[in-house]
């Protein structure tokens, strides 16, 4: 198939970028979206032009590195997948495809389609852990039975791959779904309850400091999340935050 691509090009963080048009022929429906970009890049290199830089690594939907806004949707039109799992069979011959980086003040562009998501790291550094020593001698793993339902819920929250699609999709560039998934993962487990109050306070504070927008409950994040992280986590975080604030 033949495609008309409009891609955001930006040489580096300090230079303004713009959309550039490319026409790409010979795309097969079995290709993944990133393989389609590989082909475009091979063409650009052979013409002596600089290839389009985009973040990607595992190419199997788990590392959370790939991050493209495709035709106005994070990770493209299909649901519950990352860009690397998106295949060209989702497009038709002659389609125009607009490819942009995640847009958020907290995710500045590094080059072309690559953004800096270190804000997510800092949110987790602010409290996304349980303070146990790795070199300590913890109790036996089966000493504390955990209700399967809770363990499963915690797991579901923990499946977040930190790709940032929630921020990209949200009209407010809010990071509430991400932060709440991290808060919930620990808040649901007895091991995590010990520091729950402090954790939610610190992580929310860091989230606000990074300049993410405010949640207005549109639900776009949940729809676009490749791992289907539930909005329930945001409610949980709000609750945890309010209780911990009132308790002081």
């Amino acid at each position: 198939m033949k495609l008309y691509l409009k891609i955001w090009r930006q040489p580096n963080a300090d230079t303004r970028g713009s959309m550039v048009d490319y026409t790409l022929d010979g795309v097969e429906s079995d290709m993944s979206f990133l393989e389609m970009l590989d082909i475009l890049n091979e063409e650009l290199i052979s013409k002596g032009e600089e290839p389009v830089e985009f973040d990607h690594d595992c190419r199997e939907g788990i590392c959370g590195t790939c991050s493209l806004m495709i035709n106005g949707q994070p990770h493209g039109p299909d649901s519950r997948i990352t860009v690397c799992q998106l295949h060209m069979r989702s497009f038709n011959d002659g389609d125009e495809i607009v490819i942009e980086p995640w847009r958020a003040a907290a995710f500045p562009v590094i080059k072309d389609l690559i953004v800096d998501r270190s804000a997510f790291d800092r949110i987790q550094q602010a409290g996304g852990y349980i303070s146990v020593n790795t070199s300590g001698r913890p109790v036996d793993a089966n000493a504390i039975p955990i209700q399967k339902e809770k363990a499963d819920k915690s797991f579901n929250a923990a499946t977040c791959i930190g790709c940032g699609a929630c921020v990209a999709a949200c009209k407010n560039a809010s990071a509430m779904l991400f932060t709440s998934a991290k808060v919930s993962q620990f808040a649901l487990l007895p091991q995590g309850r010990v520091e729950a109050a402090e954790r939610v306070q610190n992580m929310v504070r860091q989230m606000d400091l990074e300049g993410f927008g405010n949640c207005t409950n549109t639900g776009a994040c949940e729809v676009e999340c490749p791992k289907g992280i539930s909005l329930e986590n945001i409610a949980r975080m709000n609750r945890e935050y309010l209780f911990s604030s009132v308790k002081g």
Binding site: K171, D208, T218, A220
Partner: protein, 228 residues
């Protein structure tokens, strides 16, 4: 002291702002219930409507306690909504060339600022129509109390076609505003339990029924003018 500091942090935090929006919104929802009930009386029983209106207009608690609280509620909801809107726009930075919002969220949820502003503009007209009129009647012109005037005055307001149309359109946007706002207030306040689903259904029903009733009343009065 620690507690105070925490509380001040609370007000500044994104979640606290959400909660303030939710609480002020819920307060306005309660006011709507009262308002629509009395309005409905204007269709069912003009006499009762007159009585209730007179009570609301001259009871000192209503006038000097509840009315300012209500105005404060509107102002807080509006200012906070506006502050959040500005902050949220800033959080995006550069906007997308192509952004397919409808793919993942409802129009109502994405455009609370629009529905909110329309409702606010409508409130201006509504205040001009009724509140300013009342204030002038009571305090400027200092006319004597007349417990029987309200029904007629109200119906007359809806005589012009344009006003009725504006009211009905505004109720439509109020409905959209409530459709998202009411149900999502539970989420903002962290309520998520086995009653939440039911609560959300109730909120959605409310968002349709209440504005529809308002609109019905406006149209009813437009179609049934007072004849002497």
């Amino acid at each position: 002291m620690t507690k105070l500091l925490l509380m001040s942090g609370l007000i500044k935090s994104s979640i606290a702002r959400k909660v303030i929006m939710a609480l002020s919104g819920l307060f306005l929802v309660i006011f709507l219930v009262l308002h629509v009930s009395i309005n409905l009386a204007s269709v069912l029983s003009p006499d009762f409507f007159n009585e209730a209106s007179h009570f609301m207009g001259y009871n000192p608690i209503v006038q000097f306690v509840m009315q300012p609280v209500l105005i404060a509620g509107v102002v807080i909801h509006f200012i906070m909504g506006f502050v959040l809107e500005i902050k949220n726009r800033k959080a995006r930075g550069i906007s997308y060339v192509k952004y397919k919002g409808r793919a993942n969220a409802s129009w109502a949820s994405r455009n609370m600022i629009i529905s909110g502003l329309v409702v606010l503009a409508f409130l201006g007209l509504h205040f001009y129509d009724f509140w300013v009129h009342e204030m002038a009647y009571k305090y400027v012109q200092a006319k004597p109390e007349d417990p029987s005037r309200y029904f007629e005055e109200t119906v007359q307001k809806f005589a012009p076609f344009w006003r009725t149309v504006i009211y009905v359109i505004s109720f439509g946007l109020l409905s959209l505003h409530l459709w998202h706002g009411f149900a999502s207030s539970f989420q903002s306040m962290g309520v998520n339990n086995r009653f939440t689903e039911g609560g959300k259904k109730f909120a959605k029903t409310f968002a349709i029924v209440v504005p529809l009733t308002f609109a019905f009343i406006a149209i009813y009065h437009h179609l049934n003018p007072v004849t002497h």
